[in-house]
Amino acid sequence: MTAEPILSVRNLTTAFRVDGEWKPVVRNVSFDIRPGETLAIVGESGSGKSVTSLSIMRLLAKDASRIEGQVLLNGRDLLSLSEKEMRAVRGNEVSMIFQEPMTSLNPIFTIGRQISEVLTRHKGMSATDARAETIRMLEKVRIPNAASRFDEYPHQFSGGMRQRVMIAMALASRPKLLIADEPTTALDVTIQGQILDLIKTLQEEEGMSVLFITHDMGVVAEIADRTVVMFRGDAVESGATEQIFHRGQHPYTRALLSAVPRLGSMEGQAVPLRFPIVDTVTGITTEPQPSRTMLERDAPILKVENLVTRFPVRSGLFSRQTGSIHAVENVSFDLKQGETLALVGESGCGKSTTGRSVMRLIEPTSGDIQLDGQNVRELGSSQLQRMRKSIQMIFQDPFSSLNPRMSVGQAIAEPFLKHGMGNAVQAKQKTADLLERVGLSASMMSRYPHEFSGGQRQRIAIARALSLDPKVIVADESVSALDVSIKAQVCNLLLDLQEQLDLAFLFISHDMAVVERVSHRVAVMYLGEIVEIGPRAAVFENPQHPYTRKLMSAVPVPDPSRRGIRRGLMEDELKSPVRPMGYQPPRREYREVSAGHIVQVA
């Protein structure tokens, strides 16, 4: 690794103009990328990692940003090029792929046109040559029937396939450097595995360098030769990936690594374990506290039997029903007080629909739901209102789930007052109490949601859910949108609250590593059905169903010794639960592996 670097970034400082003042968001960042090397920039939101990549490509709005320093591509300073010269670099010598494959392709042009555009623009190819080369690229990124898909539009591709199209487009001109800005963050975990494999393979074939921007330490460990850790605009540490992981010097690096949920780290643990919290300034670590052992109880607080939820699919001239989405198919489970049952699975597996059906936010098609001794499906609307006192929900997006025109005090007190649980004075008392309980202060009551960070808002959402003293909380991807260190804190908070208030959690998540950390029992969902359910240790240490295994093997583990691993995942897509009219779901058979650990066998 003594070759001259392809890209050499020197003292890069990028400032944005905010209210007429220049505010630096990236400060003095320097790094090199050598030929064939993968460098990861890792950091949480606001660390400046994406701004760094956009600065290299000079894609930031000119009048609102200022870039200083040097960006040397093969010795030529990109920052000194004219805009026209820079256009010959973009998409040609340096290409980029982005986080959102769903929105990164132009919806009104065929994917073929969008890829061949690069070739006609930079390589001066004729339309026919560009078409042939585009099809070759589509085959290279393993898109089945590439030739026939040339004339299709982006909406005809799944998320994973669109990211392949993006990669084909980025690599069409054989760039020396590929900048991948969170390319797998929006994808399901098995698809993420496929895309990571693909990037590794193509990198070998083409011999290009990769600048990989991510927040996911697991992905970093798998893909990067060297790593730069960014924190609030500064590159706080850089070095070989191995060194960063094992001998990280900066307290923030250590904090970040300790907060990362690590699949397989719970071996030998009987109960959920809190995350250790490292102070980002001093580097002092608090020892993780295990959750209190669950009390033995007989009767479950929530019992779901043979739950089925289907949505009609309509089409044709008179919008006749032509099929159904079998979102939830014959799902049964129970949940005890003080227990966390996790529902895990990928997009479209029905985990969220299950959560909503249980609360009757969506009307289930059939099945039986017993909550605290009441038959939920038979409740009238006023009884349903009362029922919702004992079961509350926390959503994924802490930004859109709070009304921006309501102070957080009003937001938390509203359900309490609506349900007539007390007068205004009592509501205020309750709100103050809840805010303290979720780690905020009572004095924040009069502030509005925009004044809080994402993690704080999720705490507010939790406080609001608690205002009715519920027994069960449905947490639908409640920590998924949060940064690693915030996620660890909010998970710890949930465990604290469970201990103090004896709450039962239905924890819906796609994140296997978080699930392993916080749950007592786990149910794995696939195409609307539970394929495996059991105590956490049994499911994670002795997974039986092929899908559970596939899911677990796809999770990137933050362990640099796994660098370069290939999963050899099949290039398949997630299947759809849309069925034709009159479809009869097959009768399923189950096997009990050990006490409470049940697996679908046929």
């Binding site: 973009r90 132009n106 919806p107 909406h155 005809q156």
Partner: protein
């Protein structure tokens, strides 16, 4: 694409109840209005027997639902009745005025589009610069300057002082196309600038939305030139809402532009309907309103079809 005729058929089916509701509304509104058309027709004649005879003749003594059904039956066969005032068939009256109105509408839209759309694009691309402010200022004046004032000023400047264009007078496009277009230039410019302002605002906001989207960032990261990024990748996406709006504005133009027609003495729908209302000429009002409603529905349908054609995602769901 095979499904397009089915889609159009479906939309036409939906249009039928809409038209029926409009027809009931139009018909009953007439009956609720004060004033007696027979009195207006009879003029000085006050002999109750004569009035009664007239009422009989025009079936005005029948129960209202029967009058409605009789009227609707006629409409369905293209018989919109006879003007109570001039005894001309309403269809014939509409037939005379409709080409004028359509010509005015097309020419106005032409001005609206060639002024509004490029200005909208420019304002979006040069957001928060002096060009954007100027475009917004022009749009604001276009919206707030009354048509009649602008019309009079144009006549003063261009016809009276400069003598470039005729101040008024109308010539059918089938008789003398050049003179017809000349006489229509000013009225359509006046109408067009007002619409251009609306189009500019919508084009600007649609372009701003598109320009900040992820796929435009992708297009720039590919090394495309600003021209390709703006005109090919951005504009075609921004066009979608603009097309819908244009079709609706066109539909509005079909209803006639009373003031502008009055100033430039253009014999279009606007003048016809105003005269008919003042004369309580039931049949004409009903006919013109129905005709306008049909025009509006057709333009709406055209907008929807264009929208589908421009948007591959909708094309697939047909």
């Amino acid at each position: 694409m095979v499904q397009m005729p089915v889609y159009i058929g479906k939309r036409l089916l939906v249009a039928i109840p809409t038209l029926l509701i409009i027809s009931i509304f139009v018909f009953s509104l007439q009956k609720l209005l004060p004033g007696d058309p027979i009195m207006a027709m009879a003029g000085e004649e006050r002999d109750p027997a004569v009035l009664e005879q007239l009422r009989e003749k025009y079936h005005l003594n029948d129960p209202i639902p029967l009058q409605y059904v009789r009227w609707l039956g006629g409409v369905a066969q293209g018989d919109l009745g006879v003007s109570l005032r001039t005894n001309q068939p309403v269809l014939e009256l509409i037939g005379q005025k409709l080409p004028v109105t359509i010509q005015l509408a097309i020419m106005s839209m032409f001005f609206a589009v060639i002024i509004g759309v490029p200005m909208g694009i420019l304002a979006a691309v040069k957001k928060n610069t002096i060009l954007d402010y100027i475009a917004n200022l022009v749009a604001l004046s276009g919206l707030s300057v009354p048509n009649f004032w602008l019309g009079i000023m144009l006549i003063l400047l261009i016809s009276v002082n400069l003598g470039w264009l005729p101040a008024s007078g109308f010539e059918s496009i089938f008789v003398d196309p050049v003179r017809s277009i000349q006489t229509m230039l000013m009225p359509s410019f006046v109408l067009g600038t007002g619409l251009a302002a609306t189009l500019m605002r919508h084009t600007r906001s649609a372009m701003l939305g598109v320009l900040s989207s992820d796929y435009i960032r992708t297009a720039r990261a590919k090394g495309l030139s600003p021209r390709e990024v703006i005109l090919s990748h951005s504009f075609r996406n921004a066009l979608l809402p603009v097309v819908t709006l244009s079709a609706l504005l066109f539909g509005e133009l079909l209803a006639g532009a009373v003031l502008t027609e009055q100033i430039f003495t253009v014999p279009g729908f606007g003048k016809l309907i105003v005269d008919a209302v003042f004369n309580r000429d039931y049949a004409v009002v009903q006919g013109v309103v129905m005709c306008t409603a049909v025009g509006f529905i057709v333009m709406n349908l055209a907008a929807d079809i264009l929208y589908v054609l421009l948007n591959p995602r909708l094309r697939a769901t047909l």
